[in-house]
């Protein structure tokens, strides 16, 4: 056993922390308030190689590992949930599937610009009637000569308004057993028939772009099919397993930020003639928060380590996502409580952490779905 981060991981942590505190943090309140996607920050993150951490150099990546990537998401999440979410989605959902399942040509054409941070990618899975139940997918892709013609509607798609490519899941036929076959197809966003609108007025992660995608007779070459045409469902389950590690890391970041703010405030705030950090009612909250943050981080690191070592990690990624995101919500809630009336004000930031944390319990598999995943892994 070795709980120490490697020198590279420590350096990445320091660098991302410095970058997050220097560049993102001063704008976090504004990003939330204006609900404006900070595209310029993503450009800088791309130049630093942050968008390519878990991909090899030959595909424009930085040759890092999943642990380094999780560390980076946590550090960004500590200062800005919106930026953290868009970052995690760009890497885990927009780029990773091409790395996992793409052909060499697809990787050179579509993964490289994403890993180099020159473009953003999206993942279009959710539909108005297909959320937790992805088998309810209605979007279709019909073969027509050497092309697919795609029709359908996707909703809540992170980063889509700023994406160069969207990986769209669609029904491509029926298997031998009569079950629908779901495939994943890479759709460049400049393709005719694609309409992307971003009209959502969200509770949290307001600066992260969320869009609706309408596909109206969108024609893409068959060569854009990603991976095995019959295994689209399995592929996106694997993709989501990986994505859960990053959402969990984002939860750890928000939870740690909540703890930091609450602890600092509790030491400064005086009531009844003493700092409120002297009172057990406050101490117990802080102790619970600190413990849960550490446990959540350990689970994230373990899930990431399993993935890096090519071991099964489905269950552990679900543990991490479930526990870290619920920890984030609890920690943000307690941070507000410790701040009292001030905590309810935007300026003190902890109310934003709560709004941001709520999304993490929903996106990339709700807490309930995580429990289902775990139960299935237990053999239920």
């Amino acid at each position: 056993m070795d709980f120490e981060l490697t020198k590279e991981q420590q350096m990445i942590q320091q660098m991302v922390k410095d970058f997050a505190e220097g560049i993102i943090k001063p704008r976090a309140i504004e990003i939330d308030k204006e609900a404006k996607f900070p595209i310029d920050i993503f450009k800088e993150m791309g130049e630093l190689g942050l968008l390519g951490i878990p991909f090899p150099e030959r595909y424009g990546g930085s040759d890092g590992d999943t642990i380094s990537y999780a560390i980076a998401v946590e550090e960004i999440g500590k200062v800005c949930g919106s930026t953290g979410l868009s970052y995690a989605a760009a890497v885990s959902l927009g780029a990773s599937p091409i790395y996992y399942f793409g052909t060499e040509e697809q990787k050179q054409t579509y993964l490289k610009p994403l890993a180099e941070g020159k473009a953003l990618g999206s993942f279009g899975l959710t539909e108005p009637n297909a959320g937790s139940d992805a088998r309810g997918t209605k979007t279709t892709a019909v073969e027509d000569g050497t092309d697919y013609i795609i029709n359908g509607e996707k909703c809540f798609i992170t980063n889509a308004s700023f994406a160069k490519t969207i990986i769209v899941t669609a029904l491509t036929g029926k298997g031998d057993s009569g079950k629908d076959i779901i495939s994943a197809i890479i759709v460049p966003t400049d393709t005719e028939g694609l309409t992307i609108t971003s009209n959502y007025d969200k509770m949290g992660v307001r600066g992260s772009d969320t869009a609706e995608v309408i596909l109206d007779n969108v024609r893409v070459p068959k060569a854009n099919l990603l991976g095995d045409p019959t295994k689209g469902f399995k592929q996106f389950l694997y993709t989501l397993d990986g994505g859960r590690i990053s959402i969990a890391a984002l939860g750890v970041g928000l939870a740690q930020a909540s703890l930091n703010k609450a602890l600092t405030y509790a030491k400064e705030r005086k009531q009844f003639g003493a700092s409120i950090s002297n009172f057990q009612a406050i101490q117990f909250k802080l102790a619970d928060m600190a413990m849960e943050v550490e446990l959540a981080r350990n689970m994230v690191y373990k899930a990431a380590w399993l993935k890096d070592n090519q071991k099964p990690f489905t269950k552990e990624a679900a543990y991490a996502k479930l526990f870290a995101t619920e920890t984030a919500f609890r920690a943000a809630n307690e941070a507000i409580q410790i701040h009292g009336g001030y905590g309810y004000m935007r300026e003190f930031e902890v109310e934003r952490y709560l709004r941001d944390a709520k999304l993490l319990e929903i996106g990339e598999g709700t807490s309930e779905i995580q429990r289902l995943v775990i139960a299935r892994q237990l053999g239920c």
């Binding site: 590279e8 320091q14 390519g52």
Partner: protein, 257 residues
């Protein structure tokens, strides 16, 4: 150009300083590159990119200093040298460091040596000038701009907020002031490549020095924290009365007049 950077690791600025038994506790403390040294690294990289050559980052420290050296390599330096004094030097001072560096530079021919203006821990600002003196080369402290043309360095030197223009022949040692440049963040590919760059580890033995040669010339008598800052006071009333009150407070209470 053969460019060298003198680097020191210092306490992270976020660390709380704790003094016990007359010493600063550094167990478990986080260390960073001395912020002024970051200007030196950035400038070295820029000068190399413009004029060619190689940037070597040197530190006198301990095993743990490798992290800061690797960070400098990740920013873009080419080579690093760690002179590990942990086993040989109990309490070094600026004399010790300058002496060790002098020995290190004995067989080298640097064109340019860059250091931070001061280290944020002890803030002596001594090592750079002392080293230049020992090496018999020119030095300019607190620089805010550097242009090298042929064999001449054209330098802006910060003098308490004003600028002095200095021209000096190479080789020269400069110490870097805030405003010189904006240090880059090490990029991810930079970090990954840093582990493959050469990092040489030396002890003072390797420089033909004995413990006695580098023994500190100064002695630390006492280490203490500054007194806690007390709350300020805002004077009220008519302006004339306020002035009178202020003067009497400065005289009788603060005793600065």
């Amino acid at each position: 150009m053969d460019i060298y950077v003198l680097l020191k690791k210092t306490f992270d600025t976020e660390e709380k300083i704790v003094v016990s038994n007359g010493r600063i506790e550094d167990d478990g403390a986080e260390f960073i590159i001395n912020p002024y040294d970051e200007y030196a690294i950035e400038e070295a990289i820029n000068q190399r990119d413009e004029h060619g050559g190689e940037v070597t980052v040197v530190t006198v420290g301990d095993e743990e200093s490798e992290k800061q050296l690797r960070t400098a390599l990740a920013m873009g330096a080419d080579k690093a040298v760690l002179i590990d004094t942990e086993d040989d030097l109990e309490d070094g001072d600026q004399y010790s460091t300058a002496k060790i560096l002098e020995a290190f530079f004995e067989d080298k021919e640097p064109d340019l040596i860059l250091a931070g203006n001061v280290a944020i821990d002890e803030a002596s600002g001594q090592v750079g000038p002392r080293l230049a003196d020992r090496l018999g080369i020119s030095y300019v402290t607190t620089i805010t701009a550097l242009t090298i043309e042929e064999e001449t360095a054209k330098i802006d030197k910060d003098v308490e907020g004003d600028i002095e223009k200095v021209e000096v022949p190479l080789p020269v040692l400069v110490t870097c002031q805030q405003g010189l440049n904006e240090p880059r963040y090490p990029s991810l590919p930079g970090i990954m490549k840093a582990k493959k760059k050469p990092l040489e580890e030396l002890e003072i033995d390797d420089l033909d020095l004995d413990e006695d040669d580098v023994e500190a010339k100064t002695k630390t008598v006492e280490v203490f924290l500054p007194p806690e800052k007390e709350a300020g006071r805002v004077l009220e009333g008519e302006l004339d009365d306020q002035v009178k009150e202020l003067v009497s407070l400065l005289k009788d209470e603060a005793k600065v007049l």
